[in-house]
């Protein structure tokens, strides 16, 4: 059984009683790749009863789901239902909004990322994020962009840095296109290349989890396909959670899919259904999921 090599990580907190990572068997295999079946069935991220506010506005309420290590998990739902908010609660990006608040628990390898003494920047080093619009740093070259996270953390010597940059660019399937232009500005690249540059920048610091918030919504179909292919590759090494408004994309890339919907009662996003992707798309358990995937609303 080939198992992706796990990167040894120090725990977020040196708390005395960090709970053991939960292990559990899921009832069904994910997508056609069977990736999750082969990989360790370990819960990487556990979202437990998370609610999030912007000021006094409740945006998502009581969301719970578990993300298996080395799986691709998709969050789908109509726009404005709170997909991005849920995603940003996982790496504590939600709290950079003024007045934003989170309740509930998010566990990364068992440890509560909202626990006392947990440094949000440390969480974000372990849970990377790729955004909707490619956002390379405009003042930096391609190589510097990829090395930015390493430099923030002051990791490695110059030559180690060069190696990590190359490795990350290869992993992001961008190396061949930019290897002669490493000192050029990242802004000169096409949108799809910029997004892969952002992926390289994210994985250069070797996170455990990569969050992607509609990473293809600003890209053309060819660039989209490249990134989708990349996701399957990346799942060998990282756990991936992707927000997408594109149902076909979720069906293509995700092992598990969660459907979020704004409920009228509290006008906040709720996780309606969370299942292996094939189940969710072929036998939705909830009427509203069925309506959504058959295009009856949203």
């Amino acid at each position: 059984m080939e198992r992706p090599e796990l990167i040894v990580q120090e725990p977020i907190v040196q708390a005395p009683a960090a709970p053991e990572p939960q292990r559990r068997d899921f009832f069904q295999v994910g997508t056609a790749s069977g990736r999750v079946e082969r990989a360790e069935r370990r819960v990487s991220v556990a979202v437990e009863d998370v609610s999030a506010w912007y000021g006094s506005k409740l945006a998502v309420a009581g969301v719970s789901f578990e993300v298996l290590a080395h799986s691709v998990t998709a969050l789908i739902g109509p726009s404005g239902c709170g997909k991005s908010t849920v995603l940003r609660c996982i790496n504590r990006m939600h709290e950079i909004n003024v007045g934003a608040r989170v309740e509930g628990t998010v566990r990364l390898e068992g440890a509560d990322v909202y626990g006392p003494n947990v440094d949000a920047t440390r969480v974000r080093q372990r849970v990377g994020m790729v955004f909707q619009k490619p956002n390379p740093f405009p003042t930096m070259s391609i190589a510097e962009n990829v090395a930015a996270g390493l430099r923030f953390m002051k990791i490695g010597t110059k030559s180690e840095e060069r190696d990590r940059v190359e490795e990350a660019l290869r992993a992001a399937a961008l190396w061949d296109e930019v290897k002669d232009d490493l000192n050029k500005s990242g802004m000169a690249l096409s949108g799809g290349q910029q997004q892969r540059l952002c992926i390289a920048r994210t994985i250069a610091v070797e996170p455990e989890v990569v969050l992607m918030d509609e990473p293809c919504s600003a890209l053309d179909p060819v660039a989209t396909l490249k990134i989708e292919d990349l996701m399957a590759e990346l799942a060998q090494r990282y756990t991936i959670v992707i927000v997408t408004h594109n149902l076909q994309q979720a069906a293509r890339v995700a092992d598990y899919t969660g459907f979020i919907l704004l409920e009228q009662s509290d006008s906040a996003g709720h996780l309606i259904e969370y299942s292996p992707t094939s189940d969710l798309f072929t036998h939705p358990r909830d009427k509203r999921t069925e309506d959504f995937i058959t295009g009856r609303f949203g």
Binding site: I96, R124, R201
Partner: protein
Amino acid sequence: MTPDNAAASVDRFTAADPLYRRRKAIDRAMTAVMFAAAGATVVPLALILFYLFRNGLGAINLDLFLLDPSAPGRGGGGVRSALVGSAIMVGLGTAIGTPVAIGCGVFLAEFGRNRAGTVLRFLVDVLAGIPSITVGLFVYGLIVLPARQFTAFAGAVALAIILIPILARITEEMMLLVPRSLREAAYALGAPHWMTVLRIVLPTAMPGIMTGLMLALARIAGEAAPLMFTALGNQFLSTDLFHAMDALPLRIFYFATGPYENWHQQAWAMSLVLVLFILGVSLLARTIVGSKVTVRQ
């Protein structure tokens, strides 16, 4: 839509319709008014340049740059002392003011979303509105009187005080113009706030801040009032920061108000030099802005 009112609505867009004709006339009138306003803005600059070239060009020669002011009534001479003095005091004033201004602007942009920031922003705006002659008087009391000496240093401090509020607000605005997505990218890589500011936001805003610096520098280079009671002026070349020093705007003032023809001509020539310098710096600022546009998404 019936054929009838379809025809009527087509009629709306033809010259036959009175409503259309009136709109067209208003449009023409408004366009003319705006052209006139634009012209009224540009004409003074054109006239200033015209007069400066006509009256000043004749007095521009090597002597102007290489000789110091001649004794009253002697004729000849140049304004080297003023050129050197302006370069020194504008340079020193910029060097003193820039770090303070950028620091203040960064504070306003990054930590200024609260009461303290609002108060500071207001104070900076008040400082920007204080007449430059008042700044000169203030520095006179602060530095010149205790030292019992007019000094170039005091002049530079006065210029810095004028530069700081201008550049601080430009810095704040340029920092706030940096797309939020770049900050988020840095945060998502685990960079703390201060690192995000220093490594990402400030460098990204830097072309804009440099443009602001150019504009502020052009502004203080032309100031005479803050130097009158501080650097005083000096008809001899001096590079001593702790003595009176000459400056172009001061020398223009002395020569233009003096009784001698060669002084008047040299005042025109200095004005021309100063305006061309300011024009050049502004053009430089534009090219920096130009490069910023390509950097921004």
